[in-house]
């Protein structure tokens, strides 16, 4: 023991351990432990008052009840769509910030992207509701412009949910994109242009391959945020929101069915993991490289 205490290697390991301790403690206490607890919960079934037994019933319910996996798939599909829409919108913005706007103009644009995040998500979403509701600003404007005869309800539609999700996620896509586009040497673009490439070929062969880690990082972050979002789909989607997180909330809070809620939570975790892995496989990126970009 005395020897090992003097061993510099042991010392190094101790120092490393001490350095990592806060992070590990955080990880263990706030992430791993609750998940273990949830996992245990999800594998039991109520058979009587305060009587539970180990069972796969919660997972069986998910697959047996079309309602649940319907909402599950819908949430996944909408999240994927929202992620691609965010990418399509964020890319030109990031390009302008990284390549076209110089100095102050660039920072100004960045700040404009950041401003919505100075207020809470609730306020932002309520802002959208004020704009889009039937008696709101936008329907009134449409009537004034003569585009619609009567005010139209713009809330409670899938498209509205997508708008809200894209708006909420934009910054999380723009940041990694800007950093990866900024690192793209302009002379590469000029060289490709010089060698006969047009705009599309440059985008496809030079810009996108270079920005791929940033694109993948942005997509992963946005996808996970979107999939796990609760407020935006619930408020903007109204009676038709059908977001899976809402299903989890309902199971936990209004149905007191923690077992079902925990099982849903794990299914969602599995889904996001699977889709992220699939995305990485398709884009040929490695998770570690991508995370370093964010």
């Amino acid at each position: 023991m005395r020897n090992s205490a003097l061993d510099p290697r042991w010392h190094g390991r101790l120092a490393l351990g001490l350095l990592l301790a806060p992070a590990l403690l955080w990880l263990g206490a706030l992430i791993i432990l609750p998940h273990v607890d949830l996992a245990v919960l999800s594998f039991r079934e109520r058979i009587g008052p305060r009587q539970y037994t180990a069972s796969l019933a919660q997972y069986k319910t998910f697959f047996a009840e079309p309602l649940y996996w319907h909402v599950f798939l819908r949430t996944a599909a909408m999240s994927v769509i929202a992620t691609f829409l965010t990418l399509a919108l964020a890319f030109p913005i990031a390009w302008i910030i990284a390549k076209l706007a110089r100095g102050r103009a660039g920072s100004l644009l960045f700040i404009i992207c950041l401003i919505p995040f100075w207020v809470s998500e609730t306020v932002r979403t309520l802002g959208w509701m004020i704009l889009l509701r039937e008696s709101g600003v936008l329907p009134a404007m449409l009537v004034k412009l003569g585009l619609t005869a009567m005010p139209v309800e713009l809330l409670y539609r899938d498209a509205t949910i997508l708008v809200g999700l894209v708006y909420t996620s934009l910054l999380f896509m723009v940041v990694p994109l800007v950093s990866s586009l900024e690192s793209l040497d302009n002379s590469l673009i000029e060289a490709a242009y010089d060698l006969g490439a047009g705009g599309f070929a440059i985008l496809r062969r030079i810009v996108i391959p270079h920005a791929a880690p940033g694109i993948t990082a942005g997509c992963i972050v946005v996808f996970m945020l979107t999939l796990g979002n609760y407020l935006t789909p619930t408020l903007l989607g109204g009676k038709n929101s059908q977001w899976f997180t809402e299903q989890i909330y309902t199971q936990f809070i209004t149905r007191f069915n923690w077992e079902q809620g925990a099982a849903f939570g794990f299914l969602l975790l599995g889904l996001s993991t699977a889709l992220v892995m699939m995305g990485l496989r398709i884009s040929g990126q490695r998770f570690g490289d991508v995370m370093r970009r964010t």
Binding site: S187, E190, A191, A192, D194, L195, G196, A201, H210
Partner: protein
């Protein structure tokens, strides 16, 4: 005589506060190596980018291969460029880099591979096609950048200080390689550099550029031995510069006196009258050094000096003197004989130079008071 591959006709480019390229006209013969030499900020990069098509001229016209390039985008010009930082595509293999331009032209895959491999072989990188760009050495990357352009068989290859990023030894080596490449391909090269040695070694013709204009356009020999302006004399090769006024300017050889009374003789260029402010340039290798004045050629004026320091650099060794009376610095190249290898500081020596090999120009505005 065939049409020149590149003709610039009164090309002008202005930026907000200055004229970067000032009504420049020149032409480059097919198959020649043409350099544009100038200090940074002289407008050479702007000129090159106008030829490549990245910048549109404000006036004048550029014709390549006899065709005006007005409104022709860079990707449609018969011109390719080797960038200063080479700009190889790190997301592609070496082979893909070389095949990139061919793919853009719609060349089929098999043909593309064949032609890019052949091109890599010609630059001595036959087995590098599958390597990543960052696995190559600096010199190999250089060759890939050139191969990537040449595989497209451009009328004109533009090179933007491509050796600037290399270390000295490699730069010397690449100079020779570039020259050989150009000779073997026969493609017209337009090369820009601020390094006079690169320009002299590589080029058939050199344009010395300053403030958006060519000071002189000619062969390397012309620039070196027959500079037409004090700028060229000062910029191309090493030179001793002496500022003074002519005391006598009857024939081709004028007599010049510095303000502190040193008298030298030099060949005049341009119209110079007695009493004009002038600049005299004497190359270090033109002057002859002797321990004893009697050993100097008797027909030339003789000067006395004191050794300040010996600058040993092998074949490029020189000695820095002070002229005996005025204490002005004067540099003389040491002969290869080793005759002066034991020269010591403070040693008294004599030197002379052939006035017909020293040049004298009317002084540039604002330059009269300064010494080189």
């Amino acid at each position: 005589m065939s049409t020149p591959d590149l003709v610039a006709d009164a090309v002008v480019k202005r930026f907000a506060d200055h004229v970067a390229v000032d009504s420049l006209s020149f032409s480059v013969e097919r198959g020649s190596f043409f350099s544009i030499l100038g200090p940074s900020g002289c407008g050479k990069t702007t000129l090159l980018r106008m030829i490549a098509g990245f910048i549109a001229p404000d006036g004048g016209d550029i014709a390549i291969g006899g065709r005006s390039m007005r409104d022709v985008a860079p990707n449609r010009r018969p011109v390719n460029m080797v960038f200063q930082q080479l700009a190889l595509f790190p997301m592609m293999s070496v082979g893909e880099n070389v095949a990139f331009g061919l793919a853009r032209r719609g060349v089929g895959r098999a043909d593309r591979v064949k032609r890019s491999t052949a091109m890599l072989e010609r630059v001595g990188l036959g087995n590098a096609a599958d390597k990543r760009v960052d696995e190559l050495s600096g010199g190999q990357r250089q060759r890939v950048a050139i191969a990537r352009s040449l595989v497209l068989e451009p009328t004109l290859l533009l090179l933007d200080e491509p050796l600037g990023a290399l270390d000295l030894k490699l730069r010397e080596h690449m100079k020779i390689e570039l020259k050989q490449l150009q000779a073997s391909f026969g493609t017209t090269f337009v090369y820009i550099t601020h390094d006079q040695s690169e320009a002299l070694v590589l080029s058939d013709h050199v344009g010395v550029m300053s403030h958006g204009r060519f000071e002189q356009l000619g062969t390397p020999q012309d620039l070196y031995y027959r500079p037409q302006t004090p700028f060229v004399a000062g910029f191309v090769g090493a030179n001793n510069r002496i500022v003074g006024r002519t005391t006598q300017a009857d024939g081709e050889i004028a007599e010049i006196a510095t303000a502190d009374g040193w008298i030298v003789r030099a060949l005049t260029t341009g119209a110079i009258a007695a009493g004009d402010a002038v600049e005299v340039f004497v190359r270090p290798e033109v002057a002859i050094l002797a321990r004893n004045a009697s050993e100097l050629p008797p027909q030339h004026p003789q000067h006395a000096g004191e050794v300040q320091s010996v600058l040993f650099d092998g074949a490029n060794s020189a000695v820095l003197l002070q002229e005996a009376r005025t204490r002005r610095e004067f540099r003389i190249a040491l002969p290869q004989t080793g005759q002066f290898s034991d020269l010591k500081p403070q040693e008294k020596v004599a030197f002379s130079f052939d006035p017909s090999r020293a040049v004298c120009f009317a002084a540039r505005a604002g330059a009269a008071g300064q010494d080189a």
